[in-house]
């Protein structure tokens, strides 16, 4: 009964979504305000409807309704309740519903904002978001139904939603297969929602961009309205990526957090265009330039969001041919292509109206440097996109499978990332409109000098690796230049306002949160870069089999194997094999670690949990690879030393803080007056955003 109810609600929400899109479109064509209002209410209704459908699915998951095939695939009796709930996004059908539910939440939220001054956008925002929402709900309703049940048809078990024949009875398996153990980690519980939130929230700025193109109101209003949305979208997407990295580091057992896997890249690509977009919209707000480019970037971001979902959901990555076997792949491909063509057609139609209001003055102006930053982001996107696509192309056209792995990505993106760091140091200090080598040099020479001195010190104390040194120079340049900018601003206020340093700094940051939040994010990026450099260039590893009392040595660490124990937890359906190792640094005992392997009986899968000793200097990361039945015969360990890697996580936390600082809602900025009519002269002298 419940599955029928859940499916019924899904069907209704699909109809309501299609209605809202159609009513909004028809209403605006016929200037019927009441029809548009009806569309808006329909849009609002989709969220509670999908919440009910999701609630039904969660109820089925939690209460072991294994007659439902999705429940059977992702849960088992031994799983704790919270994991049964999060199993909602642990499989195909559920995660598509989850996507749709989040999108409905965002589109509903956007329809209840005050529309007084932007009423002409409203119907078109509804149309665009309804099309996207209808696509995802349609996918769930017609192709990936999470409420499909098992039926016993004359002894044969068939999955189907409706009874396949009159005599068929519902078949209920004793227990489910259980969630993939890799997905039971807390990082994996939060990572997909974050990523999906990031994905769906980029739909909102896209919808407004399309509304601006359709209505012809092509000033920067759409950008101002969606400023916060974009920041939050970016926050979620970034956090999703970082959590995914942390999850990989803790669970996948290969000593790293980022393997340039196509699934990772699928989520990374919209982040790249989104980041470029965040920067280039500022140029349009400040200088009225780059209107075309901003449209292109948001269209690309939207396309990549759907494309990323397609890559991870259609099975195309394992084989081009798997893609054709499920209806999901071609439908996604069709949807991406259609929306892309429609958006580009609209953009071309409005091309002449999107002319720049002023012109570029200098190659060193902030807007010029921002454009260079955009080029680098797009460059990285090209490398990533091509790296994901070419194995598919190779399989399709030549029939041979190829792997495009880390060496390709590292070689190609390394210089581009270095370029981004350099721009991060100099661009915030260049002025809008106009900068010269002299003006830039005056504000930067101290930071450049400090970074150079630090680099020379590093040559004598830490490394002579040229790539590492270039990296450390750029990172310290960013850090010094950014901190100097904080100091310079606060100092200036101290002089003029007679404030003490902290009051001055606080006021300065509080009054322009987006700008200084942005600087904090730059600092966090530099910190993360330290971690990336550390693990990329200085990672060390060794592997060996040792008997109890024997040790492995790596760098200044010694890892001594003590003992090993193996036991069953029948309640959880897991066998644990846990080793005990003593660790010594330069001969001094610093602690014990417990690398272990968990074997999950229901899914017959191993999970390797490393023992980690984390310091700011490095991570000692020990994996239990293999063991002999009796511990005195020995166990095999793989030991990594990952220098500086923890700066990655410190940087991530700083990043989160910076973004919250920039994006935390005060009074709705969209409700503040539309951009004052500023004369061109005024605009050019304004130095910052």
């Amino acid at each position: 009964m419940l599955p029928e109810f859940g499916y019924g609600v899904l069907l209704v929400s699909f109809i309501v979504t299609v209605y809202s899109g159609f009513a909004a479109w028809y209403g605006v064509q016929n200037k019927s305000a009441s029809l548009v209002e009806s569309a808006r209410r329909a849009q609002l209704l989709t969220f509670p409807l999908l919440t009910i459908a999701a609630g039904v699915l969660i109820y089925l998951l939690v209460n072991d309704h294994y007659e439902v095939s999705f429940v059977y695939e992702v849960t088992s009796r031994s799983m704790p309740t919270y994991l049964k709930v999060t199993a909602w996004w642990g499989g195909q059908a559920g995660s598509l519903l989850f996507w749709a539910w989040l999108l409905a939440m965002f589109t509903s939220a956007v329809t209840i904002r005050k529309w007084d001054r932007d009423l002409e956008f409203l119907p078109w925002v509804i149309v665009v978001s309804a099309i996207t929402l209808a696509f995802f709900i349609g996918m769930v309703v017609f192709y990936e139904n999470p409420f499909t049940r098992f039926w016993d048809v004359g002894g044969e078990v068939v999955p189907s939603f409706f009874a396949p024949s009159a005599t068929a009875t519902v078949f209920t398996p004793q227990d489910g297969q259980g969630l993939n153990p890799l997905l039971r980690h807390p990082g994996m519980v939060i990572h997909p929602p974050m990523l999906y939130l990031g994905f769906v929230s980029f739909v909102i700025p896209y919808a407004f961009a399309m509304a601006a193109l359709i209505t012809g109101r092509t000033d920067d209003r759409w950008i101002r309205i969606t400023r916060r949305w974009t920041l939050w979208a970016w926050l979620f997407l970034s956090m999703g990526l970082v959590l995914g990295g942390r999850w990989a580091y803790d669970v996948l057992g290969w000593g790293g957090y980022w393997g340039w896997d196509p699934v990772e890249i699928a989520a990374f690509m919209p982040w790249l265009t989104g980041t470029a977009f965040l920067h280039s919209v500022m140029i349009q707000e400040k200088r009225g330039l780059l209107k075309h480019w901003n449209m292109i970037l948001i269209i690309l971001t939207y396309a990549l969001v759907v494309f990323g979902t397609f890559l991870t959901r259609s099975g195309v990555l394992s084989s081009v041919h798997a893609f054709a076997n499920s209806p999901i792949g071609p439908l996604f491909m069709g949807f991406v292509s259609l929306t892309l063509i429609a958006s580009v057609a609209l953009l071309i139609k409005r091309w002449p109206e999107l002319k720049s209001e002023t012109e570029m003055k200098s190659m060193l102006s902030r807007e010029a440097l921002f454009l260079l930053n955009n080029l680098l982001f797009i460059g990285i996107l090209i490398v990533c996109f091509w790296g994901v696509i070419s194995p598919l192309a190779s399989e399709l056209f030549t029939g041979t499978k190829i792997t495009v792995g880390p060496p390709y990505y590292e070689r190609a993106t390394g210089p581009l990332f270095a370029g981004l760091l350099f721009l991060m140091a100099i661009a915030p200090l260049s002025a809008w409109g106009h900068s010269t080598v002299q003006t830039l040099g005056r504000v930067l020479w101290k930071s450049a000098l400090a970074a150079s001195i630090l680099t020379v010190v590093l040559v004598f104390t830490y490394t002579k690796n040229i790539y590492a040194l270039i990296g450390f120079f750029l990172i310290s340049f960013v850090l010094f230049a950014t901190v100097h900018e904080f100091w310079r601003g606060a100092n200036a206020r101290m002089k003029t306002q007679n404030e003490n340093f902290f009051a001055a700094l606080g006021r300065l940051m509080g009054r322009n949160r987006r700008r200084y939040g942005g600087y904090i994010i730059h600092i966090s990026m530099a910190l993360m870069a330290i971690g990336i450099l550390g693990i990329e260039i200085f990672q060390m590893e060794t592997q060996g089999t040792v008997a109890s009392g024997e040790s492995l040595e790596l760098s200044e660490y010694r890892v001594e194997y003590r003992e090993l124990a193996s036991w069953d937890d029948f309640g959880a359906g897991v066998n644990y094999t846990r080793s005990v190792v003593d660790i010594y640094e330069n001969g001094i005992f610093i602690g014990q670690l417990f690398p272990r392997i968990d074997y999950y009986y229901d899914s017959q899968q191993n999970m390797t949990i490393p023992g980690q000793h984390a310091t700011l200097k490095d991570d000692l990361y020990i994996l239990l690879v293999d063991w002999q039945p009796t511990s005195n015969e020995g166990a095999t360990f793989k030991v990594y030393v990952n220098p500086l890697v923890n700066w990655m996580w410190i940087g991530s936390l700083t990043f989160l803080f910076g973004l919250m600082f920039a994006a935390w809602p005060d009074k709705d900025p969209a409700d503040e007056p539309v951009r004052r009519k500023v004369s061109a002269g005024d605009r050019q002298t304004s130095a910052a955003d």
Partner: protein, 170 residues
């Protein structure tokens, strides 16, 4: 005395040759004896991709099949095969997908050529647009003095600008 010295030198020379020779024998003997370490195996496995799992390097792949492949590498190393020979063996048996990067032949060249070409095209477009944007101003500055061309020279100006921004922030 002289003779004696010569004799010592001769003995020393003889001893040296002997040591060198035994050393040589010892070296070859030990090369045959020692089985390759896990690190030797991993150094090669790292560059190969698991032929069955998606996008998993062979050195970290936990499946039983991969454990056997690592043993195979160890065996081949013990037989004196070089790194290149081992990699070639894997490519011959499981296809180019076991390499972390496609070999630079035929169709695969596209993998390496397309990104730099596209990025260069992007850079060219950007550079051209810059020139197009900047040109009108060059003409303008001939026709009359342009205020903002003066670099903001003093700290006062910076303070003024900062204050103005804070006041005017929208």
């Amino acid at each position: 005395m002289k003779n004696y010295k010569l004799r010592i030198t001769n003995y020393a020379l003889f001893a040296l040759v002997l040591i060198a020779l035994t050393g040589l024998f010892y070296q070859t003997a030990s090369a045959q004896d020692t089985t390759p370490t896990d690190d030797d195996v991993n150094a090669i496995a790292k560059q190969l991709y698991c032929p069955v799992c998606e996008n998993t390097p062979l050195d970290v792949c936990p499946t039983e099949a991969c454990r056997q492949w690592r043993e195979l590498i160890r065996q081949m190393l013990a037989e004196g095969k070089t790194e290149q020979e081992i990699k070639d063996y894997f490519v011959a048996n499981y296809g180019a997908r076991v390499l972390s990067e496609p070999p630079r032949t035929g169709f695969n060249w596209l993998v390496y050529i397309v990104p730099p070409v596209l990025i260069l095209v992007g850079a060219y477009i950007l550079f051209n647009s810059f020139r197009a944007w900047i040109k009108p101003r060059a003409v303008e500055s001939v026709s009359g003095p342009v205020k903002e061309a003066k670099p903001s020279s003093s700290d006062d100006e910076y303070v003024k600008r900062l204050e103005e921004e804070l006041k005017n922030r929208k």
